[in-house]
Symmetry: C2
Amino acid sequence: MNNVNELVGQQLSQVEETLLNIPEMHPSNLRNAVRVIVASGGKRLRPQISLLVAGMFGKQDLRAAIEVASAVEMLHTATLVHDDLIDGSLVRRGAATLNAAWTPAATVLTGDFLFAFAAGLASRANSVRVMSIFSETLGVIVGGELRQQFTDWARRRTRDDYTERIYAKTASMFVLAATAAGVVAGASEPQIQSLNAYGRDLGLAFQIMDDVLDFTGEQATVGKPVGSDLRRGLITLPTICYIEANPDDPLLPCALEGNCSGETYAQLVKRIRESAAITSAVAEAAALIKTAKQHLADLPDNAYRSTLAAIADYTVSRNV
Amino acid sequence: MNNVNELVGQQLSQVEETLLNIPEMHPSNLRNAVRVIVASGGKRLRPQISLLVAGMFGKQDLRAAIEVASAVEMLHTATLVHDDLIDGSLVRRGAATLNAAWTPAATVLTGDFLFAFAAGLASRANSVRVMSIFSETLGVIVGGELRQQFTDWARRRTRDDYTERIYAKTASMFVLAATAAGVVAGASEPQIQSLNAYGRDLGLAFQIMDDVLDFTGEQATVGKPVGSDLRRGLITLPTICYIEANPDDPLLPCALEGNCSGETYAQLVKRIRESAAITSAVAEAAALIKTAKQHLADLPDNAYRSTLAAIADYTVSRNV
């Protein structure tokens, strides 16, 4: 993605600077721990989308776009901190999480602190509409996680539940990244709708690929044990596709109630990993990427737009 | 406080309606549980302040003032939900808390959901400045709670720590209620500063009185065991005043490290309750109320303003 750096590399550095400029926290080593989490934040895909959208409308230098890009990434980081508490996962990105090092109370509060920081960044974009999209997104994310806490096993294996879940968890933030940047860059209402649809489809595809990689990746690459989602009772698209093709597999019933033995999980993960379910799931992601790119058609045709398309393509070409 | 109802009773009903109009949550009984918490929210002091401030500037019917009033109360409610998780307290307002009924994860998420709702209400006030004050306040509240988690015992018994703590926990929200309402009602910059000072002093006094009532109230009235703060290691003004007057009380050392026996706590609570520390603390609250009212002097002189003064007076006259 060299093109991204050529187009918005300078703005991405400003985002990085903004993100690491975490407000004073007490104790100061907590601030350092948070800084490590923020700094290890990967590719900054969400900020890239915001900045490219602003650039597509000729506003690549807009300060408000940098605030939006930073706010979205900080919101993403805040949800990761709470996720670590909620799912009890102690390993993320291969590093010990905050939750392993601190008390649950400190983890809750640190996540809250980052929500506040994210909201502050969003308010600096100086747009009521952005704040409204921002708080709506927060509601969708949290509402989705809450729903997940209380969804029964019969529903968790359905496509409807899966799509709702990954929209709330992932796609909503891509929608925020694209639409809020559109708002500050002066996009028209129909253009904002196109950005919304682009963000939605890209985000859904991104999460599907993440869920595929959970089966196909190596622990060293993804930083989690292979099949970790299934092992902790999370039914994702590869499993759903596998169920559709092999409804009578005797290993399924315990997995669909989240109580297999470790050995059974290992066997089932191997079966799914080696089945056609993987290619089916990837094909669904690819179809979403195709529609995501179609939604770009009505937007200004320039290098920024083609890079937004390239980002979409890249999402499904990640190592499977 | 009959005057409050005459002046802004109708608007308070609209706030109530707004607060109970909680977004759809899954499962729906969670929404009901949240509604019970919101509905049991007491006197709506913070919304009263917002509405009276708006009225003082001749804007008692302003929709934005109702949004601000609702946002502040919802933020207050969200922090109560997380507090219940953080301090492990299972009784609040005499009713079982969410935390006792649900998992910690559900409690965290429910608090987050209410934060999102509060932010959404604030954004409906249609003012970037309000959003900025709102997110700043959230940062102060959460930053204060975080600090509290990591403050050592030597510092917890200091007045500086106490004031910082109660500013973050309580007064900051009164400042938000007063200043955000001033912003939407068109107050000038110096007037907003006066509102800030009024909110600060009133909020500090309010929390001091709350801390006094923790010693002097009856369990049936305050809904918590007498002296519950001290028992869970929270050093408040009555204890600080008692230490100053009785530095050599042999019961103090264990209390200042949070590890007395139940019996020792009971004895110490009785001593503090019957000492001059109570009147000293009340006198400090009364002094803050006096300055809070002085800050009203530069604001429009009308029935709304005198009711804001009466609210301040009422705060220290609560049953001691």
